[in-house]
Symmetry: C2
Subunit: 320 residues, 2 copies
Amino acid sequence: MGTGATLVTAAEVAAAAATLADVAVTTPLLPSPWSPELWLKPENLQPTGSFKIRGAYVAISRLSAAQRGAGVVTHSSGNHAQAVAYAARVFDAPATVVMPDVASPHKIEATRQLGAEVVLVPPAERSRRAEQLAVEHGLSMIPPYDHADVIAGQGTVGGEIADADAEVSTVLVPVGGGGLAAGVATALAARLPRAHVIGVEPALAADAQESLAAGELRPWPAERTYQTVADGLRTQLSELTLAHLTARLAGILTVTEEEILETTGALLTEARLVVEPSGAVSAAAWRHRRGELPAGRTVAVITGGNLGPARLAELATAAA
Amino acid sequence: MGTGATLVTAAEVAAAAATLADVAVTTPLLPSPWSPELWLKPENLQPTGSFKIRGAYVAISRLSAAQRGAGVVTHSSGNHAQAVAYAARVFDAPATVVMPDVASPHKIEATRQLGAEVVLVPPAERSRRAEQLAVEHGLSMIPPYDHADVIAGQGTVGGEIADADAEVSTVLVPVGGGGLAAGVATALAARLPRAHVIGVEPALAADAQESLAAGELRPWPAERTYQTVADGLRTQLSELTLAHLTARLAGILTVTEEEILETTGALLTEARLVVEPSGAVSAAAWRHRRGELPAGRTVAVITGGNLGPARLAELATAAA
């Protein structure tokens, strides 16, 4: 790599777990209905419906009281927005969330209901506007993945897997910006070094696979990644997450749109879990790409459950 | 009462928890989306989709190897059928399940897929036929609630609540045959004696409320109880469960059909949990009868998630 990025340590993940003790749910490993070899880690059951609460809360907790008093800011159209709003409220910190003006009214409203001030901007201006607000108002930026504290927080998912099952052979993790995969791989490299942490991406947003193969960031244009239904996985790796994945990930594979939606439906009707498409790619890899996976006990991290009502109705109706 | 029934002890519930360690999921307490005071205990995430695995497995584990080799039998149209089939398979014990010939093909098939032999009979003959099979073939009967080992197994739900939250003030438990409520009240009377365990029934199947008020069993005819959508709660108390509830339950209240379905939908779309109507009555009591409940931290036990595909589609479509 040669970027000289400092990698998060397993000790930092363990410290994050202590920070999260009263905030995040220690999600169980659920036996899957499909095989005694496959277990599900249902992060869709977290407050605000995704693992994102872990990283957002840890990052905010590491700020000084003065920084928290001044407020935090982020930009997100998805689960990170609600996670930052929720975590900031726990600390009584003002939260500003910059969202694209094309975001679903449902998600905008959910973020507002958690007490955040929502600023709507054209999609291309999100990042710049959030940085501008940070500078102008002295707000602390809580990025969705490109931050050591966020990676350490997401890594607690891996620590819990190691606590629950020392025999696990493979852990399947959805990859968008790569923060969760970076953290989980960090925790498991220390705790269960023989386990394989494998990333899973939509084939329509396989920038992480391409970047890992090339040994450098290969961002894909939004025109391509925005075609996948897995809207939480359209984002690109950063130098920091790529450095972690290069050092610690055992492999990465892709799943098709059909495979993602089939699995989202199966999780709903057979595993009794409301999961969004982004959260289902890990289980999709097991259901459809099993030949590409190592043998043995496997955990699929189910990352989020914020399935839109129209999609929920569509999947439920298809199964009836 | 004067029935002289021997009540299950907290020590028997603790022993059951040890028996279940590798079989049942230790379900977490999930913060509800509705109030920081309300937590959900999602037993719909158990193998076969309900808490019934706990009692069925404990009862089968207490049989001798010879008894297990001869096989077990039960009668059920619902979650207990699948739980017995699943638990028997763990022990390599042959399982026979007598089901009414009007049971849904979906449930019959699920029970068969778990390896049980399913015997279909007219509804009125279920119990007699199961007893006849037990005698003729030397099978051990695993009843759905009228059995000390089953009550001890279901009581482990209460032990886990005490483990997770020593500050809980009220635990809301659905009541059908009363096995779960009997066990949970037993565990909490010993572990958290200041907590109130409150039963919840559909108003259309309020035989437990009437029996508790009368101090004796007051079974309701099936013509009445079969009108409730909460098909898991149509059964009647037994002398054994009534004795437990009389001694240990703090109260019992009822919810309407509308309240049950409203809550089933809210659990699906807001808590991201697929719950059957019977499993939702506890949360329905909190959402609709809060004025009748003690103040303070409350846990609603969500008992099962075997929602039929048509009902799932109906609820999802209504929310879209």
